[in-house]
């Protein structure tokens, strides 16, 4: 008896231990994701190991990453435009040393570069120098320009995503969010009516044998890996769209939407069908007894009854479409620009993570930015899941 009690205690502690491990793992994933992603907002967009400097007489102390980008692109050419004095901006990088200084001045093994940089910056009033920190002279007379850390507003409102641009990277997530929304929205516009109709057909119209054949087939198709759907999209849908609309490239938002719609269909159909079938038969029978046709009973009694379950199916379908990575990566063309038409390449958030994580150095600003994208995905999932939970609990109460 004592032995049995010991076993009972032991088993219970194993169960407890494993659920503790799970809980800790789950909480840790969320914590880790947020910690790494939030690191973006205490990171500088300036390339690691580089410095920006101006002449000591220049009143400009701080420049936003956008201003710096405009200056280096040549869109801003006078210090006046960024709050300085009326001087033309003179860009300077290490490459320009050789045209201004002789080999002798630079030194045989280029050991005098820091001195030359210092000399150049102190002599030119309008200079804006971008160079590696190791070329910073000990007695540097210019003034370093501060670049403020990336802010949440910049991240969410920025219209440019150039994570590897020099001298400053641009982490504007707006084109990615819009790309994701466009692709997803169009996909559900196709998938929801088609999915609902198929679910109704399966649940109410199809004969028993037809249903018993189709239901498992559709469930089976939900299991096909997304990379296979993407492959199909790339070799069939993309060339088809390119020919149909006479496009320069077939990899477009529309291609992504079509693939996503096909992928989301099995999920939507299966869950919506379950919801429709869960409507009590007595409801339908009462409606039929009142003289309504089958179709009238369906459209005015059964489907209104099942609407919360159908809604849950839609939301789960959307949630799946938003997070889908590989298929979208293959067929949308991945241009990180603000989308202006569904027939243009776009880039979604998951595709950005998958496409760029390989090249982002571990722990760098770009890496943190990708984690911040991961947080956005997590939050979207959280919202959608909570919606489903709320709908479900409303239904049961």
């Amino acid at each position: 008896m004592k032995f049995r009690k010991a076993i009972e205690k032991f088993s219970e502690s194993i169960l407890f231990a494993s659920s503790t491990v799970t809980t800790i793992a789950v909480l840790f994933i969320v914590f880790f994701l947020f910690k790494s992603g939030m690191g973006l907002f205490s990171a500088s967009p300036l390339e690691d190991g580089y410095a920006l400097a101006v002449n000591a007489s220049n009143p400009v102390k701080q420049l936003t990453s956008r201003q710096i980008k405009d200056i280096f692109n040549g869109d801003v050419t006078n210090w006046k435009e960024v709050g300085g004095s009326d001087d033309a901006i003179q860009l300077f990088t290490i490459d320009e040393l050789s045209s201004n200084y002789t080999e002798e001045q630079l030194g045989a093994s280029l050991e005098h570069i820091p001195a030359c940089v210092n000399d150049y910056v102190s002599k030119n009033k309008g200079v804006f120098a971008f160079f590696e920190k190791r070329f910073l002279d000990k007695s540097f007379s210019g003034r370093m320009v501060k670049v403020p850390n990336i802010t949440l507003a910049e991240f969410l409102n920025g219209r440019e995503w150039y994570p590897t641009a020099t001298p400053v990277a641009q982490f504007g997530v707006l084109p990615l969010i819009l790309g994701t929304l466009w692709v997803t929205f169009l996909a559900i516009l196709i998938a929801i009516p088609v999915g609902l109709i198929t679910a109704i057909y399966l649940a109410e119209i199809a004969g028993d044998r037809m249903r018993r054949f189709l239901k498992p087939v559709i469930e089976l198709l939900a299991g096909i890996p997304s990379i296979v759907y993407g492959f199909f999209g790339l070799v069939v849908i993309v060339p088809f769209l390119q020919q149909l609309f006479n496009l320069p490239v077939g990899e477009t938002a529309l291609a992504g939407s079509l693939v996503l719609a096909i992928m989301a269909l099995p999920t939507i159909i299966t869950i919506a069908e379950d919801a429709i079938r869960s409507a009590p038969v007595s409801l339908k029978e009462a409606s039929l007894a009142l003289g309504a046709s089958h179709w009238q009973s369906l459209s005015r009694v059964v489907i209104p009854y099942a609407k919360s379950g159908i809604l849950a199916a839609f939301i789960l379908g959307i949630g799946r479409a938003i997070g889908e990575t590989m298929a979208v990566l293959l067929v949308t063309g991945n241009a990180a620009t603000m989308p202006s038409s569904v027939l243009e390449p776009v880039r979604t958030i998951p595709a950005t993570i998958a496409g760029e994580l390989g090249e982002a150095p571990f722990g760098g600003t770009h890496f943190k930015a990708l984690f911040a994208l991961g947080i956005i995905l997590f939050i979207i999932t959280f919202v959608f899941n909570t919606l489903v939970e709320v709908i479900k609990s409303k239904k049961s109460s």
Binding site: E8, E12, L15, S18, S19, V21, T22, T23, A25, V26, I29, V30, F32, L33, S36, I197, T198, I200, Y201, I205, L214, I218, L220, L221, G223, I224, P225, S226, I227, V228, F231, F232, V235, I262, P266, H294, W295, Q296, S299, L316, I322, G323, E324, T325, M326, L330, P350, I353, A354, L357, G358, G363, L370, G374, L377, F378, T381, F382, F384, E389
Partner: protein, 287 residues
């Protein structure tokens, strides 16, 4: 207006036929995709394709290391995720009292089971590959995939346990059985078909995922088997991705890509059908 109104019979006929048409189009398009891959892929399949390593940048040879790699990844992830997942599911459903803690745990596992797989890839890369310094390895990939299916396994287990009528538990207690005895001898025997089916389906999920292994374990071209759990592996879905986008001669690699897609689909469908068969077997047996 009254004159234009269709009779309720015509109305029904129109609606039902439209629904039928749309449904057949959906099923046809899904079959089209499957058929397209199968027809293009099956001609590539032969003994050499299944048993040889890829050569010449994936344009020749076979996909044996990718098949073995996928099987190893599945094995690695289920060794980690099955026991912990099922045991946690049992603990959460049978032992935890209905309170805020249970609510938090449940909502967290719910959420994680819906989080896009690329987020797990992101996490796995940062934690296993870099922070724990496993490098791109079989173990990092297995753990990442395991974490991905863990919430799904917990949910499946919980759903299965919830479906067991409470009167069964109470009957068992009334006969003097302890909690553990009740779970082991009464509750689990009733619901383990559902748990087993769920577990098999999670295997199919693991074998088809690409995003979590992109940066945690996958070698784009490694014509040999891994030497240890800290070695890189090839995997079917990732190999397919590489053949589609990043080979040196994409046209020449196309047939190989069709063949790989075929094998991947065949594997996943086989696992799914197996799950169905298991479920049907138990349903028959219980009758």
């Amino acid at each position: 207006m009254q004159g234009f109104r269709l009779s309720k019979k015509t109305n029904q006929l129109l609606a039902f036929n439209l629904f039928r048409l749309v449904s057949f189009m959906v099923v046809a398009s899904l079959f089209l995709i499957l058929g397209f891959i199968i027809i293009n892929g099956i001609s590539v399949i032969n003994w050499d394709f299944l048993t040889k390593a890829p050569s010449n940048n994936g344009t020749e040879g076979g996909i044996m290391p990718a098949i073995v790699g996928t099987l190893l990844l599945v094995l690695g992830s289920i060794i980690f995720a099955f026991p912990i997942g099922v045991l946690s599911g049992i603990y959460i459903n049978e032992y935890l009292k209905e309170n805020w803690f249970k609510k938090i745990v449940r909502s967290m596992t719910n959420n994680l089971s819906g989080v896009p797989s690329i987020v797990f890839g992101l996490f796995g890369m940062a934690l296993f590959v870099h922070t724990l310094n496993f490098g791109d390895s079989l173990i990092a990939g297995s753990l990442t995939l395991g974490l991905m299916v863990l919430p799904i396994i917990i949910r499946t287990t919980e759903e299965a346990l919830k479906s067991v009528d409470d009167s069964l538990r109470q009957g068992s207690y009334a006969l003097g059985a302890t909690k553990l005895q009740t779970i082991r001898k009464v509750v689990l025997p009733v619901c383990y078909p559902n748990i087993v089916t769920g577990l098999i389906l999670s295997v199919s999920r693991v074998s088809g995922e690409t995003a979590p292994i992109l940066f945690t374990c996958a070698a784009s071209f490694l014509p040999r088997l891994p030497h240890s759990i800290f070695d890189q592996v090839m995997a079917l879905p990732y190999h397919l991705y590489v053949l589609i986008v990043s080979g040196t001669d994409l046209e020449k690699a196309r047939p190989m890509a069709y063949g790989t897609a075929f094998v991947l689909i065949a594997l996943v469908l086989f696992v799914n059908l197996f799950a169905n068969a298991v479920r049907n077997y138990f349903i028959k047996k219980s009758k």
